[in-house]
Symmetry: C2
Amino acid sequence: MKAASVINLKELSSCHKCGHKDHNIICSVSSDVLSLLDAAKIKSTYKPHQTIFYQGNDPLGLYTVSEGLVKLESVSESGQAHTVRYVGAGHAIGYQSLFTNEKYNVSATTVENSIVCFIPKNVVMDIFNKFPMASFQIMKALSEDLKLADSKWTDQMDKDVPQRVAEAILYLQDHFAHQNWTRKEIAEWAGTTPESVIRTLAQFEKSGFIDQTEGRNIKILNRSGLMNK
Amino acid sequence: MKAASVINLKELSSCHKCGHKDHNIICSVSSDVLSLLDAAKIKSTYKPHQTIFYQGNDPLGLYTVSEGLVKLESVSESGQAHTVRYVGAGHAIGYQSLFTNEKYNVSATTVENSIVCFIPKNVVMDIFNKFPMASFQIMKALSEDLKLADSKWTDQMDKDVPQRVAEAILYLQDHFAHQNWTRKEIAEWAGTTPESVIRTLAQFEKSGFIDQTEGRNIKILNRSGLMNK
DNA sequence: CGTGTTATTGAAGTGTATCAAATTGCGTGG
DNA sequence: CCACGCAATTTGATACACTTCAATAACACG
């Protein structure tokens, strides 16, 4: 009876039952992968604002976000925190440092309640060797991250704070609509200060682009207005 | 006689004779790869400031820099040019867009006389399928690029112009010493204007960190002084 | 030797960070 | 469910680093 329930639990948390098995970057490669993962993965639950790994840690494997939302952030010597990327359910984190033999250059913390699976490095490498498609998936993810990073940097240079804040709220709402983003979080994503975000949002509201009467929630009224400045 | 000389030329330009065959990201995977590449590659020579591919073009394959120096730059709507990366001999370009089915988000132009090999997409994919090591190499390169891009963005935010210019001249000299960088090139790398670069360099000279009496060449006198501001 | 590019210097304007203080809102525990 | 306390938000004033524009000087190149 006891053994049966244990088996049952294992069944329930099996990768074969996971809602993301057909979409996740590595799980979707082949059903044969799932069995390998099942034997090796470690599933953990996190509350909001808990840290999965720290900037400077040695990478031990790959993480996939099963539920929730994870923020990758870099903290500079001056203590300034910058949000590098947000990673939602079905996507992976920590793959960047797997291949460079360097320490993580970002920290990963949860934004909301999250479930994260850990896959040890040797298992990941084994999968790459057996399934070339897995490599393509990772290369695609890395390429997309790189594109985002490059464009974020060039945008930074050309665009002023209002433009960056406009893009930030559009991006954050489009990708993670359910979140009620704080002004600080928007600032760390847009590369500015909370005060500047607030002043900018007030300006947007005056222009009729947004509405922020209900709590901290931002309702977008005029997308093209925002995009054009 | 005629045929012999053709064969000879082919021999000379063979990947098996290339000085980078043991170091290049893809050529070094296996000697078997070299034969595949030899049959497919297209070798081109470029003068300074010629363009290899343009931002917005469709990616057709992979390029490796055999000799010279290539700049990846992104030009924004406002016409501002930003240098995303410099790529020296032995390294590859254009791999980022191979996996995303998107157009190039940067342009690649030569800085000096350069020789560049082009490898068609289907050949690259074939190599990835046959040699898993090739994928690891690309993943490593993508990871390193991503790390550089991420850190460049966060640095941008925290550091002021003097710090960025200091890092720029150190980086550019360390990696591509033979180049006599123009103030504009330094500015596009550091994310500022030529005027600000000039004023900053004058300040550095006054502080005894550098010497710029001989032409446009910058001689670094005090590395740690530069790094600490 | 001229012509276009790069470098330099100056003056002026401004966007944005910073600091400080007041207010609101929210979560937590009583 | 209310009250408390802390965090998030808001507003204002100030300062300044940096860009921008303009004009000149030095240089490289054909």
